[in-house]
């Protein structure tokens, strides 16, 4: 019996299809372990070797990983929400209500997206604190700290742009207040110091696509929220994770 199984396994493993996907054998030897990590897309970001102290949960609490996990949840639920949501004045609020009251598990989907978003902001900030307290921003990791700060900003922007999409009173006024702040930007804001641009061409206007919050703003924020910001975040995350490996693995002394 055991013989038969082993033969069947060998038969599968030695086919050209299998070999084209998995280039090396089982990671039982030192060499194969290295090859596995290098040759696999998902694992290639990982370091080949991880120090044992880095595996201790209490050292990092896996806050960066938790943030990534939230981002994945956001992506999946967000994609599903996009099936039901149309970013127009006419339908935005209506579609949100549809999700809540008629779409099966729509309420769950929407709440999941919302709570994961809140949690993501929280974990990102905690992650930043952890990095600060363990001194992990110090050379050679100073560049990754900068990338991390950029990711923090993108996370907050994702949160802000998503806030408008339900198109209810809370969203409308929160974004009115939020975008009004842009008017006070120096030089490029119409009401800021050294302002050079009039109200209808300043940075706030470009943010809103009009002088007040309107259908243009909704569309702009939707595209930012679903395309531009997630893609930027993904790109920066790639750099971020790669740099972790290059800078000596997950935290810990070098």
């Amino acid at each position: 019996m055991e013989e038969k199984l082993k033969r069947a396994k060998d038969k599968v493993v030695h086919t050209q299809v299998w070999r084209s996907i998995f280039r090396q054998g089982w990671p039982t030897t030192e060499r194969n372990r290295v090859l596995t990590t290098i040759n696999t897309l998902l694992l290639h970001l990982h370091p080949i070797k991880v120090k044992t102290h880095a595996l201790k949960i209490r050292y990092t609490f896996c806050l960066g990983g938790a943030t990534l996990f939230m981002f994945v949840i956001e992506t999946i639920t967000g994609l599903l929400l996009m099936y039901y949501y149309r970013p127009t004045l006419e339908y935005a609020y209506q579609d949100m209500k549809d999700l809540e009251f008629t779409v099966t598990f729509g309420l769950f989907l929407r709440n999941m997206h919302r709570w994961a978003a809140h949690l993501m902001v929280l974990t990102v900030i905690l992650h930043m604190c952890r990095v600060f307290y363990t001194g992990s921003y110090k050379p050679p990791r100073e560049f990754n700290w900068v990338i991390g700060v950029q990711l923090l900003v993108i996370t907050l922007l994702l949160s802000f742009t998503g806030y408008l999409l339900p198109w209810d009173q809370l969203a409308y006024w929160a974004v009115t207040v939020g975008t009004n702040m842009a008017k006070a930007t120096p030089v490029i804001g119409a009401e800021g110091p050294f302002a050079v641009l009039p109200a209808n061409t300043d940075i706030c206007f470009y943010l809103r696509g009009s002088e007040d919050i309107s259908g243009n703003t909704l569309l702009r924020f939707y595209v930012l929220h679903c395309i531009f910001l997630p893609l930027s975040a993904s790109a920066l995350m790639g750099v971020h994770f790669w740099r972790i490996r290059k800078d000596g693995g997950v935290s810990g002394p070098l």
């Binding site: 006419e90 209506q94 209500k97 009251f101 008629t102 769950f108 009173q169």
Partner: protein
């Protein structure tokens, strides 16, 4: 892996599975499912009992009646089958026109079933007959009731008030489900008319806005092109007594009838001016004089013949005397302290010269008659000249301002306080809108309103409450504000708030709007003489033509439009527009009516004035009406085709339909409708027939019920009514010629 790790893994895994289970249960147990199941059960039970009742009734009945009952039972059983077959699912009404979706009927499943009226909500049927002409499929629910139609649970649909942060009080959501009291403000979204049928509170509120003249200072929807409500202030220096003006500006309610309430007491609000301001304003107002237009009246008139004339003309239809009379004109009891004998005399002689926009007709008084009437008033109501109000003598002495300075300050006050909003004054025609625009009123955010001394969290901080309090006591909310005190009662203030809240700023598709002109005449044909609008839909009529020629001159002189609609425009004191008068009444009746007009409805306070026309003028009016003011859809020859048999059957119908409940015939009957004693002399048969067929033909709010008479029934009733003539009543039918009982004028 250690044992502890296994435990952790198992624990977390179980929790995850359980939470997903909860998710399924939550998704399955939506509250609307229970509501719909209960509603359906109740409805089926009620339908069963109704069907049983019909069946037992049918078993007792016979013939035609039995067939009808069985038919009704069959319809009910179809409804029963339909309800039973409806699966449990979300019900929704899609309103393409309004860009809305209402899911209210998911829980209010039985709203359209009249048999369910009175059941506890959400299982009750919609009370009243509103759904008959605002069908749920066309209008949905939230157009009238507001709230969040897309939601399917109680809180999210905004049924309930929400709690204010840090307070025990609750407040309605800005656009939550309307309370019963405010519900009528929703009617005003589409009904852009001053009279809205079946919405008495809204109609009253809009009437109050018009009466108080709110639109003098504020921009208000529906009142954009309104005439100013108050008399002109040109020549005021020649008209009124200075001391009276001081009293009037100090507190207008002093002058008004003491027992009246609310706006009846005075339309002029109190402005809370200090003594110096009042003196300056008086100086400015009294500066407008016109002594050269005034003639000296004859020294002495005959008060007794003046009194006779005063009663004969029925001056009290418009003027109040001793707390009785109409409110169109000013109160007369205190006229002697207000103005001079000379002014009153000149006013009667040249009424329209002194105020071209007054509602008062230009009577054809001789100099003697005019001075008789004036002397009658002076004899009856004569009083000592007024002294300035308390403290004004001293204030005047203390006021160290030259006439020039007083004039400047007075003029500034006049502009600032928005006096020109209500009072026309030459040179200031375009001034007056000093108040905040009140368009899209219901959208106003209470955060942006000035709540003044009021602690917002102790009341419901809602824009409706704000305007209510502001109307009752403006200084509480804005101690430095301009808004004057109106003498509104609390009920009146609430009605004004309701009417203002009807301007929600919602986008209503134009085909749903009921605008002023189209509602007056909702159904063509309403041919306008000379208007050239015959065949054009009533809604498209924007401008009504002015009455032409001699007729126009007389209409202007006698101010017919103060009470009647002439050429599509005018007041609605009188019931039907005069534009169909020729089709409505008989020539002979009309000619005599001008000699001694009487009120057709016994309970109506307003009466037709005795205008003391020149002898040829009634004849002219009659001929004009008979030649021009016709409704072409009304048959002028119907009367001659009515038979005696029809009249006899009509009498039975009159009793059967219970017409006597509202109409008087032979000295008996109700007081709501017009007395029908001599209706055969007054109305034409064609008009009577048309009116019986469609009572709301000209006025959608007419209270005469539409009995759905067949053509033959309407003919019979008409034939009977045409026999009600001065000489006798129905017993004399046989005395009339066979084959024609109606007598047509012209």
């Amino acid at each position: 892996m250690s044992f502890a790790n296994y435990v952790w893994f198992a624990g977390v895994g179980t929790a995850l599975v359980l939470s997903i289970g909860v998710l399924f249960i939550h998704e399955y147990l939506r509250v609307w499912k229970d509501h719909q199941a209960i509603a359906k059960r109740l409805q089926l039970k009620s339908l069963e009992s109704r069907m049983d009742a019909l069946a037992s009734e049918a078993s007792r009945a016979e013939g035609e009646q039995k067939k009808r009952l069985e038919e009704r039972r069959r319809v009910l059983s179809m409804v029963y089958a339909q309800v039973k077959a409806t699966p449990r699912q979300i019900q929704q009404i899609q309103l393409e026109q309004f860009k809305k979706v209402d899911r209210c009927t998911t829980c209010h499943f039985t709203a359209e079933d009249k048999g369910m009226v009175g059941q506890p909500q959400p299982y009750g049927g919609h009370p009243g007959a509103f759904l008959d002409w605002h069908e749920v499929q066309d209008f949905g629910c939230t157009i009238c009731h507001e709230g969040q139609g897309l939601s399917t649970d109680y809180m999210q649909a905004a049924h309930k008030a929400i709690r204010i942060h840090g307070s025990e009080r609750e407040r309605p959501w800005p656009r939550g489900v309307q309370t019963k009291y405010l519900l009528q403000s929703s009617c005003g979204k589409c009904h852009l008319t001053k009279d809205v049928p079946y919405a008495p509170l809204l109609t009253k509120g809009r009437g109050l806005i018009e009466k108080a003249g709110c639109y003098g200072c504020h921009q208000i929807r529906l009142y954009e092109d309104q005439e100013k409500i108050a008399p002109t202030l040109d020549r005021l220096g020649s008209k009124v007594d200075r001391a009276w003006l001081l009293h009037w500006l100090n507190d207008p309610r002093e002058y008004a009838p003491a027992t009246g309430e609310g706006l009846v007491r005075s339309r002029m609000p109190r402005f809370d001016l200090n003594k110096e301001d009042i003196l300056c304003l008086t100086e400015f107002l009294m500066s407008s004089k016109d002594e050269q237009s005034l003639e000296e009246p004859p020294a002495k008139g005959n008060p007794e013949s003046g009194g006779l004339l005063f009663r004969e003309i029925r001056c009290v239809t418009c003027h109040t005397v001793g707390n009785k009379g109409g409110y169109i004109g000013p109160e007369l009891e205190q006229i002697t302290t207000k103005t001079s004998r000379k002014w009153a005399y000149n006013w009667l002689i040249k009424t329209h010269y002194f105020d071209p926009k007054t509602k008062m007709p230009q009577f054809d008084f001789t100099q003697e008659q005019a001075v008789d009437v004036v002397d009658h008033l002076w004899e009856e109501f004569g009083a000592d000249p007024l002294k300035p109000p308390e403290g004004f003598q001293e204030a005047e002495e203390a006021l160290k301002l030259s006439t020039e300075e007083r004039m400047t300050r007075g003029k500034k006050l006049f502009s600032d306080k928005g006096c020109a909003g209500c009072h026309p004054r030459s040179g200031m025609e375009h001034e007056g809108k000093t108040g905040r625009p009140l368009e899209k009123f219901a959208q106003m955010d209470e955060e942006t309103l000035d709540w003044g001394k009021i602690d917002r969290f102790k009341i419901e901080p809602y824009v409706g409450n704000w305007v209510y309090m502001r109307l009752l006591n403006p200084r509480d909310l804005a101690p430095e504000g301009k808004m004057p005190h109106f003498s509104l009662t609390e009920a009146e203030a609430a009605l004004v708030a309701l009417a203002l809240l009807s301007d929600t700023g919602d986008k209503i598709p134009p085909q749903y709007l009921v605008e002023e002109k189209s509602s007056r005449y909702p159904r063509p044909p309403y041919p306008l003489p000379y208007g050239g609008v015959q065949g054009v839909e009533a809604q498209t009529v924007k401008e009504y033509p002015e009455p032409p020629g001699e007729f126009g001159r007389l209409v202007d002189r006698y101010r017919c439009r103060s009470c009647h609609v002439v050429f599509g425009k005018g007041g609605w004191v009188s019931t039907h527009p005069l534009d169909m008068e020729g089709s409505q009444v008989q020539e002979e009746w009309l000619r005599h009516y001008f000699d001694m007009p009487y009120s057709l409805r016994p309970i109506l306070k307003e009466r037709m004035l005795n205008l003391k026309m020149e002898p040829e003028e009634p004849k002219f009016f009659t001929e004009f009406f008979k030649a021009v003011s016709l409704d072409n859809s009304i048959s002028p020859t119907l009367g001659s085709s009515l038979t005696v048999e029809e009249a006899q059957r009509g009498k039975g119908l009159f009793v059967k339909k219970g017409c006597g409940a509202c109409h008087i015939v032979g000295g008996r009957g109700g007081f709501v409708g017009a007395a029908l004693d001599k209706v055969g002399d007054r109305l034409t048969a064609g008009w009577t027939y048309a009116f019986l067929k469609d009572p709301q033909r000209y006025e959608p709010w007419a209270i005469q019920p539409d009995y759905g008479l067949t053509d033959q029934e309407a003919r019979e009733l008409t034939a009977y009514l045409m026999t009600l003539k001065d000489k006798g009543r129905v017993e004399k039918v046989s005395g009339y010629q066979q084959g024609g009982v109606g007598r047509e004028g012209g």
